[in-house]
C-alpha cells in the first residue's frame, strides 16, 4: 500500500507542490533530449545509407571536440579551428570509406559493426597520442556561444534557463532542419535516399556508392562535432564523454534505426522520461542513479510491443 502510494500519488504531489522544479525538469529533459537526438542522428544517417551500425559515433564526438580544442590551442583563431576541424572530419570520412567500408562491401552486418569498433579503438588511442589524455576546456566563449543564464519566476520559485542550453536547442534544430533540407531537396540527398532504398538499383542508375558514403560519414562527422561542442560546454572535453553516445542506442530503438524524425522524437522521449523518472520515482524508490539504465529498459519494453520503432519501416528484422 505504502509502495503504491509512493508510485502513484507522491510523485504527483511533489510535482504539484513545486511547479518550478517540474518546469525545470522538463526543460532539462528537453535539452538532454535534443542532444540525444543529435547523437542518434549521426547513427541514423550512416545506417540509412550503408546499413552500418556505426559504433564509432561516440568516439567521433570526442575526437571532433578534441580536434577543435587542440587546433585552437596551437594559436589558431576559433572559427578557423572550426573549419579546420571540419576538414579533419572530412578526411576521416574519406579514409574510413576508402580503407574500411569499400573493402568490406557486401559483408554481413555484424562484420561491418565490428569494423566500426576497430575504428573506435584506433580513434581513442590515436586521439590520446595526438592530443594527450587530459581533460580540456571547451572554447565556448571563443566560438561566440553564450554563457549566462536567465531566470523565470514561477509561483514562488525560479526556473533557470542557461543560455548555452537555449543555444544548443536552437543549433540542434537548425542542424536537423538543414540536414532534412539537404537530404530532401538536393541531388546528393535524393541519391542518398535511393541508396538507402536499394543499393543495387541505385548502383545500376549510376549513383556512386562511394561518394554517397563519404557524404554521409562527413555529415555524421559534422553532427558529431556539433554534439561534441554542445555537450563539452556542459562539462569538459575528455574521453569519458564517449559513453554518452551509448545513450543514443535506446533512442534509436524507440525511433527506429532508419528514421530521422524518429531519432528526434525518440531523443526527446528519452530525455524527458529519464529526468522525470529519476527525480520523481528513481530517487525515492530506488536510491537514484537510474539514468544509466532507464532509457534501455524503456527501449526494451517498447521493443516487445513495436519492434520496428515509432517510425521505422515495417520490414526490418521482424520475426
Amino acid at each position: 500500500m505504502e509502495l503504491l502510494k509512493q508510485i502513484f500519488i507522491e510523485p504527483f504531489e511533489t510535482m504539484y507542490a513545486l511547479p518550478d522544479l517540474l518546469l525545470q525538469t522538463l526543460w532539462e529533459g528537453f535539452v538532454s533530449g535534443t542532444l540525444y537526438s543529435l547523437i542518434a542522428l549521426g547513427f541514423v544517417l550512416i545506417f540509412k545509407a550503408s546499413g552500418v551500425f556505426n559504433f564509432a559515433q561516440g568516439i567521433m564526438v570526442v575526437f571532433a571536440a578534441l580536434c577543435l580544442v587542440g587546433i585552437h590551442a596551437l594559436g589558431v583563431p576559433a572559427y578557423l579551428a572550426l573549419i579546420l576541424t571540419l576538414g579533419v572530419m572530412a578526411l576521416l570520412a574519406m579514409s574510413v570509406v576508402q580503407f574500411v567500408m569499400k573493402p568490406l562491401v557486401n559483408q554481413p552486418d555484424i562484420i561491418l559493426f565490428m569494423s566500426t569498433i576497430g575504428i573506435t579503438f584506433i580513434l581513442i588511442a590515436g586521439g590520446q597520442i595526438i592530443f594527450g589524455g587530459e581533460p580540456k576546456a571547451m572554447i565556448t566563449e571563443e566560438l561566440g556561444l553564450p554563457t549566462g543564464s536567465s531566470v523565470l519566476e514561477v509561483s514562488g520559485g525560479i526556473v533557470i534557463f542557461q543560455h548555452i542550453d537555449i543555444a544548443a536547442a536552437i543549433i540542434a534544430a537548425i542542424l536537423i532542419a538543414g540536414l532534412a533540407l539537404f537530404f530532401n531537396k538536393t541531388k546528393i540527398g535524393r541519391a542518398l535516399r535511393a541508396v538507402a532504398d536499394d543499393h543495387q538499383a541505385a548502383l545500376s542508375v549510376g549513383i556512386s556508392l562511394e561518394q554517397i558514403w563519404v557524404v554521409v560519414w562527413f555529415a555524421a562527422g559534422v553532427v558529431a562535432l556539433t554534439a561534441g561542442i554542445l555537450w563539452a560546454a556542459k562539462s569538459d572535453v575528455s574521453f569519458a564523454l564517449q559513453v554518452i553516445a551509448l545513450k543514443a542506442l535506446p533512442v534509436l530503438v524507440l525511433g527506429g534505426f532508419t528514421s530521422i524524425p524518429g531519432a528526434i522524437i525518440g531523443g526527446l522521449i528519452i530525455g524527458f522520461g529519464e529526468k522525470l523518472f529519476d527525480l520523481y520515482w528513481g530517487v525515492p524508490l530506488l536510491g537514484g542513479g537510474t539514468e544509466s539504465w532507464f532509457a534501455f529498459i524503456i527501449a526494451l519494453l517498447f521493443l516487445l510491443y513495436r519492434p520496428e520503432g515509432l517510425f521505422g519501416e515495417k520490414l526490418i528484422e521482424r520475426i
Binding site: 565490428m114 569494423s115 584506433i122 597520442i129
Partner: protein
C-alpha cells in the same frame, strides 16, 4: 602430405562421427593437452601463468559461451560481461554462506544462476533480432551493472562495494584468495575449460545444437520443420550464460582475487565479442584462437615494445605510449582481419590444414 587421411579407414559409424576422426588431429590434441597440463605448469613463471594463461582460459570460456549464442544460434549479445558478473556474485554469496563446501561445486553452480538471468534477458529474442537484440542485451548489461552497485546484499555490505576472493582450499592446496598457488589455479582453470569445451562440443553436435544452427541459418524454415524457436533460443541463452557465469566466477576466484562492479562493464562484453568474431563464429577452436589474439597480443606489445624501441631506435617510449600503440594495432588488426578473413582465425586454420594436406603439390 602432413594431414593425409589416406589409409585411415572407418569401420563403424561411431568411428566416423568421432570428435577427431583423423589420427593427426588426435595427436595434436594430446600434444596440446600435455603441453597445457605438464609443460606450462613446470616451465611458466607467475607472470606467464597469472597474467597470460589464466586470463586467456577465462576469456576462452566466456568466448565459448558467447559463441554458442552468437556463432551457433545467430543471436548477437552484448551482455556477456554482466552475465559473468552474475556468476561471480552468485559464487561469492554461496561460498560465504557455506564455507565448508568445495569451491569447485560453487563455481559450477554459479553458472546456473547466470543461466536463469540469461534466460530472462533472452526473452526479447523471441520477438526481435539483429541490432535491436544488441540494444536489448545492452539493457541487460547496464541494468545488471547498476544492480551490482546498488544491492548491498550482493557484496555482503562491504564498505568498498567490491567482492573479494575468499581463501578456499582444494586437496590441501590453496586455490583462491591471496596466498593461492598460481600453478594450482592454472591447472584448475585448464581442467574446467577442457571439460566444458568437450561438453560444449557434444551439445553442439547433438540434437539441441543442431536445432540452434537451424534457427541461425533460417528461423522460419526451422520452425516449419518442427524446431520450436522458444526452446531453441532460450536454451541457447541458458547454456551461453551458464558458460559466461562460470567464466565470471573463475575470473574473480581464480584470477583477480577481488572485483568491483566495473570489472564486469560493457567493455568486457565487447572484448568477448571481438574474440568470438576474430576467432571465428561457430567454431570452438576459434574461441581459443580469438582469446589468444585479443588477450595475449596486447600484453606482448606492452611488454616487448618499449625495450625493443629502446634498443633499435634512438627514441624511448613509455609504458603508456606502448599501451596506446597496442590499442591502435589491435584496432587496425580487427579491421584488416575482417577484410581479409571475415570467417575468423578458425577458417585460416582450416586453410592451413588443407595446404598441409596437399603440400608439396598445389592441388
Amino acid at each position: 602430405m602432413f594431414y593425409r587421411e589416406a589409409g585411415q579407414f572407418k569401420a563403424t559409424y561411431e568411428a566416423d562421427s568421432a570428435k577427431f576422426p583423423i589420427f593427426q588431429d588426435k595427436l595434436f590434441i594430446w600434444f596440446y593437452l600435455v603441453i597445457g597440463f605438464v609443460a606450462i605448469p613446470l616451465l611458466g613463471n607467475e607472470f606467464f601463468l597469472g597474467a597470460i594463461m589464466i586470463p586467456f582460459l577465462v576469456f576462452t570460456l566466456a568466448a565459448i559461451g558467447l559463441n554458442i549464442l552468437t556463432g551457433f544460434t545467430g543471436q548477437i549479445s552484448l551482455g556477456s560481461g554482466a552475465f559473468m558478473g552474475v556468476g561471480a556474485y552468485a559464487c561469492y554469496k554461496m561460498t560465504l554462506a557455506y564455507p565448508e563446501v568445495n569451491i569447485l561445486i560453487f563455481i559450477f553452480a554459479s553458472g546456473i544462476f547466470s543461466a536463469i538471468v540469461g534466460v530472462f534477458f533472452g526473452l526479447p529474442s523471441l520477438r526481435i533480432k539483429g541490432f535491436y537484440l544488441v540494444v536489448s542485451t545492452l539493457a541487460a548489461q547496464f541494468f545488471l551493472e547498476w544492480a551490482f552497485q546498488r544491492i548491498p546484499w550482493l557484496y555482503n555490505y562491504n564498505n568498498t562495494g567490491a567482492i573479494d576472493g575468499v581463501s578456499r582450499w582444494l586437496f590441501g592446496i590453496q586455490i583462491t584468495g591471496g596466498g593461492a598457488d598460481r600453478t594450482a589455479q592454472y591447472i584448475v582453470c585448464l581442467a574446467i575449460v577442457v571439460v566444458m569445451t568437450w561438453f560444449a562440443s557434444n551439445i553442439i553436435s547433438g540434437r539441441i545444437g543442431r536445432s540452434w544452427m537451424m534457427i541461425r541459418d533460417m528461423d522460419i524454415a526451422a520452425e516449419l520443420m518442427g524446431v520450436r524457436p522458444l526452446y531453441a533460443k532460450l536454451s541457447a541463452f541458458a547454456v551461453s550464460s551458464f558458460y559466461c557465469g562460470v567464466a565470471g566466477s573463475m575470473m574473480v576466484f581464480l584470477w583477480l582475487g577481488a572485483a568491483e562492479p566495473e570489472s564486469f562493464d560493457y567493455n568486457h562484453s565487447f572484448e568477448i565479442l571481438f574474440m568470438v568474431i576474430l576467432g571465428g563464429l561457430g567454431s570452438l577452436l576459434g574461441c581459443f584462437l580469438g582469446a589468444a589474439v585479443i588477450w595475449i597480443l596486447p600484453i606482448l606489445i606492452r611488454e616487448w615494445l618499449p625495450p625493443l624501441i629502446d634498443k633499435i631506435t634512438p627514441w624511448v617510449i613509455t609504458s603508456s605510449t606502448a599501451d596506446l600503440v597496442s590499442d591502435i594495432i589491435i584496432g587496425i588488426m580487427i579491421v584488416v582481419f575482417l577484410i581479409m578473413e571475415p570467417h575468423g582465425l578458425a577458417r585460416l586454420w582450416a586453410i592451413i590444414k588443407q595446404k598441409l594436406r596437399v603440400w608439396p603439390f598445389p592441388y
